[in-house]
Amino acid sequence: MQNPYYPYPVRIDEIITETEDKSLKTFKFVFLDPKDEERFAYRAGQFAELSIPGLGEIPIGIASSPTEKGFVKFTIFKTGKVTSYLHSMKEGDIMGIRGPLGHPFPWETLEGKNVVIIGGGFAFTTLRSSIVYMIDPANREKFKDIHVVYGARTPGMLLYKEELEAWAERDDLNMHITVDGTDDPDWKHHKGFVPAVTEQEAPNADDDTYAIVCGPPIMIKFTQPVLENLGYKHDHIIMSLENRMKCGVGMCGHCNIGKDLVCKDGPVFTLDQLNEMPKEY
């Protein structure tokens, strides 16, 4: 019997401070046993429990893409007990990863389709994983047009800045980067909130176009009517939820929304599914 509570031991290989306020850091982990990397085969949209013996575990979306080999990456906002400690850890330190957990984005459905990715703030991690996965030379032709709308409060609060700039240069990806505001005279991307930029830049809906939306509740609240106006049907709007979790494997009961468990039945749901569920998230 496989023990689903046992984390794979990993070493912190690299720590990158992502944002100007230093509240977000990206951790690159390497598995101590290379075989564990194979066991951890994941897809974009899944998450894992990061485990620090002595402190506890936290569920975090996987920011690296399955096409990136030799490591896994997570971007972590400093907020509670475990994340605060994690922010004080050093390269070379040992901890654990349990997963991959939950359902990925519906890649079988998305193949052959236009994909519109809409993200805000630090809810851009599994979206990064998705973008890197889709634009990989082995995968790019599986998808039609790809649009990305990504916003943060200021340029300094954007995640993965170098990658964003590189993606903006590509002609097989429509990048729409935005910030709520900036006094940088050289800022060459959008200014404005994500819903407004979505309204301006997102393609009109058709049966072959899916939107993936991840962001703070306020962004989701105002993006939903924009997508509806553009004609997106609720089963073409895909979201990823968060709830307090412990086990990550559907047993501890913490993260339920109605009969569904965010960890095991989600975290990815269509808006169509969410309409049938209580708003307990």
Partner: protein, 357 residues
């Protein structure tokens, strides 16, 4: 299946014998109440009881259980590497469990033994257990097992059912596992003719003594969001103090928390029973709480047992009718009344049948 007759002295000496190769769990009197516990050598069980105050779920699923151990010694090669905690895998004989409580393990198993994941702690302990139930000749006034999918003589999930027939016991030996156990205990005398009808007679008397029932027939066809948005939750939750007693005494409440505890240079990862009655259960690190109010939490408990479980497994409700939550609730919230309100709820007319259970 065969029926064995055990006289009362044999019963006591048999249990003593079993305590050699097994860990025997049985009801033991503890001040005013009975508790299930592992019998110490020479400790006497007491079968003069209606039911134990706490459910026997802790035999398989302890309230606190160490999952892993780890070292916090930075010089150690095993610094921060989790190690399995060795468990006592001696076979467990659970003797005198009530049929409703034994049936609860069948309901809970659906949570811990799934196609995708198996909980090794719960499952190994369950597989190592043998369930020797004691039928209820005299149910409590709060019992409603017969309308909750089980009954005072229910055999589902049992290895053997023991019936108190006055000056002796009659036992239905239902599995091979039980047959071996009965041999080890020396309970082998075949019952005389008529034992079966004697058991049936006691069973129908017991069943007729169960005076309350719940309606569950319409729960499945109710729309989940209709029930969720029903107008009665405020009223049901009004007196609740979120003490969590109902969840701790319940044989089918399985939710748990995982915590790390450290002491000096070592630590353990443990899991503890948790309760959806507490605000911390669903609190996000951001401060947001999807079930921030008492009404949300009371609704969660009843919706989970009486609707979400019904929809998810299509095997009835997540309740065996033991009545502990009814007995122990300090403010008299009664799941029988709530279940009947949910079952009879009509969102069109918005009138619900209020029964005094």
């Amino acid at each position: 299946m065969k029926i064995v007759q055990i006289d009362k002295n044999q019963w006591t000496s048999g249990i003593e014998k079993l305590n050699e190769g097994h860990r025997v769990f049985a009801p033991v009197k503890n001040k005013l109440f009975h508790d299930f516990k592992a019998l110490e050598k020479d400790e006497k069980p007491d079968f003069d009881f209606k039911n134990t105050r706490l459910s026997p779920k802790s035999i398989v699923y302890p309230q606190s259980e160490i999952l892993f151990r780890f070292s916090l010694d930075q010089k150690s090669d095993e610094y921060r590497i989790l190690k399995e905690n060795e468990k006592d895998q001696t076979p467990r004989a659970i003797i005198g469990i009530r049929p409703c409580d034994a049936y609860s393990f069948q309901l809970v198993k659906r949570n811990f033994d799934t196609p995708e994941y198996q909980d090794p702690y719960w499952l190994k302990a369950y597989q190592n257990s043998i369930f020797i139930a004691m039928a209820c000749n005299e149910p409590c006034s709060t019992c409603f097992c017969t309308s909750a999918g089980t009954g005072p003589f229910d055999e589902k999930g049992l290895d053997a059912l023991v019936v108190d027939a006055g000056d002796h016991y009659l036992a239905k030996v239902l599995t091979e596992k039980a047959e071996k156990l009965f041999e080890a205990a020396g309970w082998t005398s075949a019952a005389e003719k008529g034992a079966q009808s004697r058991i049936e007679e006691l069973q129908s008397t017991a069943e007729s003594r169960i005076s309350t029932e719940i309606g569950t027939d319409k729960l499945k066809n109710q729309k989940m969001l209709d029930l969720y948005e029903a107008p009665f939750w405020e009223e049901i939750a009004f007196s609740c103090i979120n003490c969590g007693t109902c969840t701790y005494v319940c044989p089918t409440c399985w939710c748990f928390d995982i915590q790390d505890e450290t002491s000096g240079k070592s630590g353990v990862r443990i899991r503890n029973w948790d309760s959806c009655m507490y605000p911390l259960f669903s609190l996000h690190a951001s401060g947001h709480n999807p079930r921030g109010s008492k009404v949300d939490r009371v609704r969660q408990r009843f919706m989970h047992k009486l609707k979400y479980y019904v929809d998810k497994y299509d095997k009835g409700i997540q309740c065996v009718g033991c009545g502990r939550c009814v007995q122990m609730c300090p403010v008299n919230i009664d799941i029988r009344r709530v279940c009947n309100m949910m079952n009879s709820y009509d969102p069109e007319s918005c009138v619900c049948e209020v029964t005094s259970a």
